[in-house]
């Protein structure tokens, strides 16, 4: 369980990058982020 938990660290980066670095993403990239998080979790388990 440790690996999936730490594998989700991009969530922190994304939140900080959007709020502090004022990064703006396209709709496709936002969808990509959401799908990537699910993929990272699935790939890191089992």
């Amino acid at each position: 369980v440790v690996v999936p938990a730490t594998a989700l660290f991009p969530v922190v980066t994304v939140i900080l990058a959007l709020s502090f670095l004022r990064e703006r993403l396209g709709r496709a990239q936002i969808a990509g982020l959401a799908i990537a998080l699910v993929a990272i979790y699935l790939l890191s388990t089992a």
Binding site: A17, R24, R27, A39
Partner: protein, 145 residues
């Protein structure tokens, strides 16, 4: 330290620290070269290593195979860090670059299946497909931002 659930504490710290480092790396490469950013990154690692070696009891005698495994891990990790700095320096957004890089378990799973002949679980199979879709979507830069 083997207290029950202490792993949650350490995992949470890693989650926060690695999450923050994506932004600090982006800020650094906005102002200095990726090479210099990496060097300071590496010096910070060395400083931590020196403190660790001086304060924690470690058993240095290990089998050569284990030693070279650890060295390979450090080398690949370092080279990965250097190329991630390059990606950020080249204009990649921290939110996108770090998320894209985080799909690396895709390669770990692929290596397991192709080289070690491991069976792919249903969850991992779905994960592989989603990771490919995510990588494509993440690499799509909006036309006008």
């Amino acid at each position: 330290m083997n207290m029950p659930y202490s792993w949650i504490f350490f995992a949470a710290i890693a989650l926060v620290f690695w999450g923050i480092t994506g932004v600090t790396q982006k800020l650094a490469t906005n102002r200095i070269s990726s090479e210099l950013s990496f060097l300071w990154f590496a010096y910070a690692m060395i400083a931590i290593s020196v403190v660790l070696a001086a304060t924690v009891t470690v058993h240095w005698q290990v089998r050569p195979f284990i030693f070279w495994l650890a060295v390979a891990g450090g080398t690949l990790n370092g080279l990965g860090a250097l190329t991630s700095f390059k990606a950020l320096e080249s204009g990649g957004k921290a939110s996108i670059v770090i998320s894209l890089i985080s799909l690396f378990p895709l390669l770990t799973v692929a290596f397991g299946v192709l080289a070690l002949h491991e069976k792919l679980s249903l969850g991992q199979g779905v994960g592989v497909l989603l990771a490919i879709v995510a990588a494509i979507l993440l690499s799509l830069e909006p036309a006008a931002l």
